[in-house]
């Protein structure tokens, strides 16, 4: 439980990192930074092991893989250096909802979470449905000190009303990564077909939030045993399966006319829908998908007051255990931090999300970071806004899966780096967006990396979160993998302010 000073000193990353505290401030170029003897993970090379990195004047000057006696005592349980993370799905609420989050607060949260690039969803006010809004977002990003790369998806439909296409061409020229009406599905199959074809001209994906709005109408929680007992209106599995089926059928149809049509399904949450994606991929359809940390690690039983990880709630036979039978209801039920769309599913669905990540059905982990104000969350469960503030806890949640032996560290890192980049890079024929760059530990490139300590645990508290959104169901919980340093494009994005000595 307690942090191990040895781990800090093991790589002297802490020490070396800390020296920079007197040097650059957030946003300034990192003049000199060294990590001696840490565990390096490079998902582009597919390599991990003991090594050292040196950053000089913002450039990743050297990456040395250590062997033999030099590598002695370095393992993957301590300080880890990885490429900076890329979140395919976040809400920074600006413009329009700056009381919930801003580009500045969201960027600080992202950097604290180890992220150096973030793709924002267009459900702002006004919606990002024309390039002027993109310019507002860019200028807000420039005005802040943070070097975290702010990217965005444009809306599929004007005003996200599901009626007519947004200014897709102009948005593509303005550099959006693709198109989504996230927060809601692309309203009709007809509009989706048009969007896939039109976006395909630019080689950009349509990102769908797969939800059958009729089946989910009025829903408060995943339809199942927990919702039955708690008297919550159910969001059935069929609501996601139906939507994913529709999307895949429309994609197949669109491909006949537009071979560059491509679909990305975000926050897929059910075993059945992931099976559909798996089969579609096997059939060669240009579809990708992501899963969220909360759908991987939490389950609907948390709403009843359980607080065990999803894999701890799986029976030996692979079915969900019963939290009432197990006597594990320890927290106040109906915590609105757990209200999210799609809802937390069963432990079996969570296990399916993990299996999808392991077999490549899921290309990436995306946070769906959805900060909300206290006013929107300190209300009755069924009236609370949907969403979890998750960009700062994603790494810790994935490391809990690594610690439990469920997920290899390298796969976790890949799902946060090369995986999301690959979603944008997968289809050739159009100049790839710079966001699709490989995201490895590349010598000679601007340093874009995160240093975290798996042996150093931190407690999730409202004060510890840089996001304005304190709506995390993990408040009060300890996570491993404290982020010590995040460097984005050669500039300091985040540095852990706590001296190592107070941790012993």
């Amino acid at each position: 439980m307690s942090p191990k000073p040895a781990a800090r000193s093991a790589g002297s990353a802490g020490g070396a990192g800390r020296k920079t505290a007197a040097g650059p401030k957030v946003g300034q170029t990192v003049g000199r930074f060294e990590v001696e003897k840490a565990w390096l993970v490079d998902p582009v090379l597919g390599r991990e092991g003991p090594g050292e990195v040196v950053v000089t004047d913002g450039i990743l000057e050297s990456v040395v893989w250590l062997k033999g006696s030099k590598a002695a005592g370095v393992d993957d349980k301590g300080v880890v250096v990885a490429p900076g993370f890329f979140d395919l799905h976040a809400h920074f609420r600006e413009p329009g909802f700056e009381d919930a989050e801003t580009i500045a607060s969201g960027s600080a949260a992202a950097a604290h979470g180890g992220y150096t690039s973030v793709a924002l969803m267009p459900n702002t006010s006004p919606a990002l449905d024309e390039p002027g809004v993109m310019e507002r977002i860019r200028s807000a990003a420039r005005a802040g000190r943070s070097p975290v790369e702010i990217l965005a998806f444009g809306a599929v439909s004007a005003g996200r009303t599901g009626e007519q296409l947004s200014a897709m061409g102009e948005l593509a020229d303005a550099g959006v990564l693709g198109f989504s009406d996230d927060g809601a599905p692309v309203r009709t199959p007809k509009l989706l077909r048009s969007a896939l074809l039109y976006a395909g001209m630019f080689g950009l994906p349509v990102v769908d939030h797969a939800e059958d709005l009729e089946l989910s109408a009025g829903a408060e929680a995943h339809e199942g045993y927990v919702a039955s007992i708690l008297g919550l209106a159910g969001w059935p599995v069929a609501g996601e399966v139906n939507a994913v089926s529709r999307d895949l059928a429309v994609l197949e149809d669109a491909l006949r006319d537009g071979p560059r049509a491509r679909l990305h399904l975000t926050h897929v949450s059910t075993a059945a829908a992931l099976d559909l994606v798996r089969r579609a991929k096997a059939a060669g359809l240009p579809v990708t998908c992501d899963v969220t940390p909360h759908h991987l690690a939490l389950a609907d039983e948390w709403i009843a007051g359980a607080r065990r990880w999803s894999w701890e709630a799986l029976g030996a036979d692979g079915t969900s255990r019963d939290p009432w039978a197990d006597g594990v209801l320890v927290a106040t039920p109906y915590n609105t931090a757990l209200r999210v769309n799609p809802p937390l599913r069963t432990p079996v669905d969570a296990a399916a999300c993990l299996a999808a990540l392991l077999d490549g059905t899921a290309d990436a982990v995306a946070t769906d970071h959805a900060p909300h104000t206290v006013v929107d969350k300190e209300v009755e469960f069924g009236r609370a806004s949907n969403g979890i503030s998750g960009i700062e806890t994603a790494l810790g949640v994935l490391l809990a899966m690594v610690d439990a032996g469920r997920l290899p560290l390298a796969r976790a890192i890949a799902a946060l780096t090369a995986g999301p980049a690959g979603v944008l890079a997968r289809w050739p024929g159009v100049a790839a967006t710079p966001a699709a760059r490989p995201r490895g530990l590349t010598e000679g490139a601007p340093a874009d990396l995160v240093v975290f300590d798996r042996a150093d645990r931190w407690r999730v508290t409202p004060e510890a979160l840089h996001s304005k959104g304190k709506n995390s169901p993990l408040i009060g919980r300890e996570l491993s993998g404290r982020v010590l340093l995040t460097i984005a494009s050669g500039r300091l994005a985040y540095e852990d302010p706590e001296p190592a000595s107070t941790e012993g």
């Binding site: 019963d322 039920p333 109906y334």
Partner: protein, 338 residues
Amino acid sequence: MSGEGSAAVAWNHRHLIDVDVLTWPEIELILRTTDEMKGVLARPIRKVPALNGRRVTTLFYEASTRTRVSFETAARNLSADVVSVAPATSSVTKGESLVDTIRTLEALGAEILVMRHSVSGAPYLAAEIFGGHVLNGGDGWHAHPTQALLDLYTMREHLPGGDLRGRKVAIVGDILHSRVARSNIWSLTAAGADLWLCGPATLLRGFDRWAAAWSGGAIPGHGRFTVTSDVDAALRNADVVMALRIQRERMQGGLLPSLREYAARFGLSAERVALAKPEAIVMHPGPMNEGVEIAPDVAVSGRAVITEQVANGVAVRMALLYLLAGSHEAAHAGEAIR
């Protein structure tokens, strides 16, 4: 399960939001206290000074005559000062949040808050904010603990030896949307009753899986129950038959073809009730749609104990107000509310 002696049990619940947290000895304590309160109600002057000077506030976000008046009568019988907040005439219509309303009521001196709310789980939010005691008068589809306890009390009065073990209780109606059914599942499976839940498949969704999960005696202190759409099977040889209200909205939601069809297939007619034991009692939590879920002649027959339920409701609520007021469980910040 029931009947394991009646050693002294201390009451240590600060709130009562559902019966799910109660052990059987705690339920028996409530029922014994209810006996005493019925004794009070039998006196010429139905008033005792037990809660003299204590302040009970009722906050009902959903229309209710019966339950609110029952709570307020119970509180006055115990000499409590009663404040009744009707959100329709309060700041709530100006958009005040539940949390702000509760903070205001506490500042105005509320000690025991009796609340009813249309959203499941709302009383847990109230309990996290409120420094006093929260007594749930019904939340969404989730729970209605005083109804379940008065039902249990009324059943025990009519069953030989006051014992529900092995007694068949059939609840027929809109189970899916019923907080009464949910709370009764907890209390009746704790009492050892042979509980049957019956209704059209559209109004039973999810309950099969729930029943299956509990079938192996999985939940400590609770027995199994049966779910069926076969109303004859549910009623046959029943000791207790309970009808639940069918709301007209269910037809707009596409869950029922018509109230007429419901009445024909699931309504408690005299012929159907005849399937139950001759001495079986007929219950209804009210308000009734006579001619829909229950035939008028059944509702007024000698088997019906519906007005007894109402009378017992006052006694049960007196018992709970008395027990909660005497509970000295301190409020600890950040502690889980169960």
